[in-house]
């Protein structure tokens, strides 16, 4: 089992059109992978965004945010996957739920921090113009916090793509299946090809989202966005 021959096998596997188009091939698994990612991030965002806004409003959420982040760091992804699968059965659902839990902290903490860091002068100006609290939130605070919230979502997406790879270990499919099948059957070339596919997907989506966010950000805010974006919490390794 030498590395060089594995690399050759990996190239051969990726070059074979059948590995892409057959049933349960790369394209099918890629679709599963992206679908699970999308649902998990959407689920996490639905929980984390309002919670972040609420905690920022109450001005005493930092303890909750820090605890949530620390807990999920210490909790093995694999354990959570096994627990959810043992509780609700095989398939994509346990993976989506488990992975969504890990996507909550980056979105939550960035939403919270973004809203906390809104310039008080801007808030006062809005208030002085007679804006209601809801109006203030939607037309002043959220737009100003958007770069950081976007960075949190991006971190979450990349992290989820990485973590969804583990779905293959609980019968959830996804690109991780190519890796784990390769390892378990000692076909290391295939494992390597799968690993490369996941890495390229994670990095590609990260780059795509970065460009997308830049295009969506109004020009006057771009410099500030870059400075703030640099402070986002780093993505976490997949499990």
């Amino acid at each position: 089992m030498s590395g060089a021959s594995a690399l050759g096998d990996a190239v051969r596997y990726l070059n074979d059109p059948l590995s892409w188009t057959q049933r349960g091939g790369i394209l099918d698994l890629l679709g599963d992978h992206l679908w699970m990612t999308l649902v998990a991030v959407a689920l996490a965002a639905v929980i984390a965004l309002p919670l972040g806004v609420l905690l920022a409003r109450l001005r005493r959420g930092s303890a909750v945010v820090v605890t949530a982040a620390n807990l999920t760091r210490a909790l093995p992804t694999l354990a959570l996957l096994y627990i959810f699968t043992a509780a609700i059965g095989f398939g994509q659902r346990p993976t989506i739920l488990a992975v969504a839990i890990f996507a909550v902290p980056p979105i939550l903490s960035n939403t919270f921090t973004g809203l906390q860091e809104v310039d008080p002068a801007a808030r006062d100006a809005g208030r002085g113009m007679g804006m209601s609290r809801g109006r203030l939130l939607t037309s002043v605070e959220l737009p100003l916090a958007l770069p950081l919230i976007g960075a949190g979502l991006r971190t979450a997406v990349v992290q989820v793509i990485a973590t969804v790879s583990l779905a293959s270990l609980v019968g959830g499919g996804g690109l991780g299946l190519i890796i784990s099948n390769g390892i378990f059957t000692q076909r290391f070339g295939q494992a390597m090809a799968g690993a490369l596919l996941v890495v390229v997907l994670a990095l590609g989506v990260e780059a795509l989202l970065a460009v997308g966010q830049r295009i969506l950000t109004p020009a006057p805010m771009r410099v500030a966005g870059r400075r703030r974006g640099a402070r986002r919490s780093g993505a976490r390794a997949g499990g």
Binding site: Y82, V170, I179, S180, A195, G238, G239
Partner: protein
């Protein structure tokens, strides 16, 4: 498969009976888990410290290093083990290399930030007092960067404890082996016990490192709090 209710009741999440009858396995694999974590963090620290020092001396290296580590940190652990397996085979070495890689990324970043946070006038004062470069580093800069370094070590350790479990895919995962066994035999107590032990290891390690940091850098207590 339809199970009678009585069978479902016999598959609890927590079972003291399981713990008692599998005491040896639990102790052995907990030991394996702890030793993998400690080794990974120590090796990572031994590599990260000189790297961070180098990066501090050359800003171009610092940028490249931080950029690369941010990118590498998005590589999924399963993929990393898959990439390593053809070269290092199945087993302890592969898992250890993977763990060291992730811990290193966290450590380099934190040590670098810690060193960069040392106030310039303090370094200048030491220089004025005739401290050599090496002595400045050991007596002034590293102690002042210590709180940040300890924070990095805590983060790396807690993350490593969780990551060890994924090592089970290449045949060596400490408590991950129990989780896998429990999962394959649908035995909930085994999964849950291993998970709780994992969390306990992470918690104990974090508290120990926190205490160590306070003992080594008592002046930082107020700021870290």
């Amino acid at each position: 498969m339809i199970l009678p209710a009585s069978v479902a009741v016999e598959n609890p999440w927590l079972s003291w009976g399981y713990v008692e009858s599998n005491w040896d396995d639990l102790a052995r694999l907990t030991g394996q888990h702890v030793s993998l974590t400690v080794q990974a963090v120590l090796i990572a620290l031994a590599i990260a410290l000189p790297l961070a020092l180098l990066a501090r001396a050359r800003p171009a290296v610092a940028g490249a290093l931080l950029g690369t580590s941010a990118v590498l940190y998005t590589v999924p652990s399963l993929a990393l083990f898959g990439l390593l397996a053809p070269f290092t085979g199945i087993g302890r070495t592969t898992v250890l290399i993977g763990l060291v890689a992730y811990a290193m990324l966290v450590l380099v970043r934190n040590i670098l930030v810690g060193l960069q946070g040392v106030p310039h006038d303090v370094v200048d004062a030491a220089r004025g007092m005739g401290y050599s470069g090496g002595r400045r580093l050991l007596a002034v800069e590293l102690p002042l960067a210590l709180p940040a370094i300890i924070t990095g070590v805590r983060l790396a350790t807690v993350t490593t404890v969780a990551l060890v479990t994924v090592g089970v895919v290449v045949g060596y995962g400490g408590l991950g082996q129990l989780m896998f066994r429990g999962f394959s035999s649908s035995y909930r107590a085994e999964i849950m016990t291993a998970t709780l032990l994992c969390l306990a290891i992470a918690l104990v390690a974090d508290v120990v490192l926190l205490a160590l940091g306070r003992a080594l850098a008592p002046w930082s207590r107020r700021r870290v709090a």
